[in-house]
Amino acid sequence: MTDLLYDDVEEALRDSVRALLAAHAPWQRTLAGVDGGEPYDPALWERLVGQLGVAGLPVPEEHGGAGAGYREVAVVLEELGRAVAPVPFLGSAVLATRALLSCGEVGLLGQLATGRRGATLAVPFATPPGACPATVTAADGPVLSGAVAGVADALPADLLLVPDGDGLYAVDARGPGVRMTPVISLDATRPLADIVLAAAPARRIAVGAAATGAVTDALTAGAALLASEQVGVAQGCLDLAVGHVRTRHQFGRPVGSFQAVKHRLADVWVEVTQARAVARHAADCLAVGDPDTALAASLAQAYCATVAVTAAEVCVQLHGGIGFTWEHPAHLYLKRARSSAVAFGTADRHRAALARLADLPAPPETGAHQP
């Protein structure tokens, strides 16, 4: 049966990540990076990878990693979400690593595990599991040409894994024929990039079913594990809001003593509690290779995406005017939550996937219903 708890090792990992982020990723620093046009924090990423080895968690020991597993990866994501930390963990340690593992291209894993190189899967951030975009075409060489719009964690990547609909290719992100343009993004702490490839030299690492399977595996892992980041974002919002209403006074009382405020936060807590169970389930299914993983991943996005958004919205609301300002962290969470709600497909798309996975089919014909 699925194990929904955290074991001692996982709790210890959480403590380490949380302590490091508390020391080196306060929100003021993250906001300053956004304001300064340097949203990613390479120094923070070096610490996370160097001191805690987070990038190697999902990589087997024989390939240079820690051989931990996706349950641990999920714990890291919770903490990264709780701090809206600006590091490319999702793109490199989840998407790219999972794609490489899936197609057996293990040679590059060691570099990713040690953080010497960063990578991402070059698909639009909103791509849901099961889709395999083909906006790029390969020619002899091989070289790739085409464009991929709105890729997450591409800006700091050294390596791009690019599908062309049939094959999956490794492309040097800093190499010739690759042009990357930062997108003015809703979530400035995980900005997207538009990528244009013009006869960029590439290496084919998988073809046919192996390639589409690798992309699907990566996106499924992304959807399943992003849920843990969403739980972290929601928890961060809840903590922030609770902290505020306990100290802010109006009408001679702490705002948090007003019943409507209490009940709103209690509802958020219930949702976060449920989201945690759902996200743990998805991580556990992924970790043990459960045949239900696709369903668990879609369930996770259908539920947790909305919880993070609600928690962030309530956080802004309960802060009143101050939560609406630039100089307060609430908006960092709101933008991360809202952007993540589209990542790997909206909750709506995942509910549609569940219609198939859970056998709840759509009406025989629709729209034309004459009432």
Partner: protein
């Protein structure tokens, strides 16, 4: 080491099964199980347990379920098993436990809860039922309400005011009420479904010997918290499988009756399915947490979301059924053993589910508990103490 305990427990179960045919009489088998310390392994020896950590219970349940042994019918005596037993084992004397726990466990004696009063619902501590000392007895007068199973119960968990002159939480004492005592009158309370699950209980000069007191005089509120904590955490029986409960009925109607489907309802059915699965996994996670530890306020979250879900799903079922959903099955005043949520009409489910956010602590009270005890938000200014 834990494996040793598991092996020992499996041995005890095997021996129980060897000596007592699980296909024989339920009460006899359950009695033997109690005597073997396999009712609640965390209870003391002699009181249905073996003084083991709580999480070992799972081994026993699993082995007995595999053998097809009868369970303790947790819904038939839900207050006894879910609330009275944990309260007794924590607050009752050894003599009291020996008198009550075995027949409670076997189902020979049903229990009910005499807490709520017409003017003390959410504000339970405002109760006015009086208990006055008279020699070795207490004389109880007052009215209780929302008492499920009172008409079948042998014993009732009773809160009564023994000192009206101190702040309201401090003047309360906890008793076990003998429901057969003279002066105990039980009247059915009909609810909006037409049936009467609940009762009003009138207590008029009821004499209870002091041996029926639980805990110290004036300490009833503290004892009651054990009962209430367990009320909210009680998740009877086995873990629900996917689509267990009301969502399964809805999903079945959806699958089997394509002519009822619309695009708009599809979105709502999928949304309800997602929430049901989230709630199920949350209950499962809580169960995993409880297997080792004590119940905490987290049970409130499960109760809150199950109530909301039952209301949402049953309303959606009515929308799906349309014209059919306008039919009811029976408005006559029945006295069911327990609400038949899955067996009756959709309209019954809808109506009955309205009670889920009221009974056993309203959703409003649960939210306040979560806000104050889990999130640490400050209490409201109090005007009543």
């Amino acid at each position: 080491m834990p494996d040793d305990t598991a092996a020992r427990l499996r041995g005890l179960v095997a021996e129980l099964l060897r000596r007592h045919d699980p296909a024989g009489g339920r009460t006899a088998f359950l009695g033997a199980r109690f005597d073997a310390g396999l009712a609640w392994v965390h209870h003391p020896v002699g009181l249905g347990g073996l003084d083991l950590p709580r999480h070992h219970q799972a081994v026993v349940e699993e082995a007995l379920a595999r053998a097809g042994a009868p369970d303790d019918r947790p819904r038939r005596n839900s207050i006894g098993l879910g609330m009275a037993a944990p309260t007794l084992v924590r607050h009752a004397t050894g003599d009291q436990c020996r008198r009550w726990l075995r027949p409670l466990w076997t189902g020979a004696e049903i229990w009910c809860q005499l807490f709520s009063e017409p003017d003390a619902g959410s504000d339970l501590a405002a109760l006015t039922t009086r208990a006055v000392r008279d020699g070795d007895d207490w004389v109880v007068d007052g009215q209780k309400v929302w008492t499920s199973m009172a008409h079948r119960a042998r014993w009732g968990l009773l809160l009564a005011r023994t000192d009206p002159d101190v702040p309201k939480h401090r003047g309360i004492t906890y008793f076990v009420c003998d429901m057969t005592a003279p002066g105990v009158q039980v009247r059915p309370l009909r609810q909006l479904t037409g049936e009467a699950e609940f009762n009003e209980v009138f207590l008029t000069g009821v004499r209870l010997p002091d041996t029926l007191r639980l805990g110290a005089v004036g300490d009833g509120w503290r004892v009651a918290r054990t009962t209430l904590m367990n009320e909210r955490v009680a998740i009877g029986g086995r873990p629900l499988p996917r689509e267990g409960g009301m969502i399964g009925l809805l999903a079945r109607s959806w699958r089997e009756r394509p002519e009822l489907r619309t695009g708009g309802l599809h979105a709502e059915v999928l949304g309800a399915w997602v929430r049901a699965e989230a709630a199920r996994l949350t209950a499962l996670r809580l169960r995993q947490q409880l297997a080792a530890g004590e119940p905490g306020p987290e049970g409130s979250a499960v109760k809150l979301s199950f109530a909301e879900l039952a209301q949402r799903i049953s309303a959606l079922e009515l929308d799906l059924l349309g014209q059919e959903g306008l039919r009811y099955d029976d408005w006559t005043m029945r006295r069911p053993e327990e609400p038949d949520l899955l067996g009756r009409t959709a309209a019954y489910r809808y109506l009955r589910a309205r009670g889920n956010s009221i009974e056993g602590g309203t959703s409003e009270i649960l939210r306040t508990i979560i806000a104050e005890r889990v999130l640490g938000l400050p209490a409201e200014p109090r005007v009543d103490r």
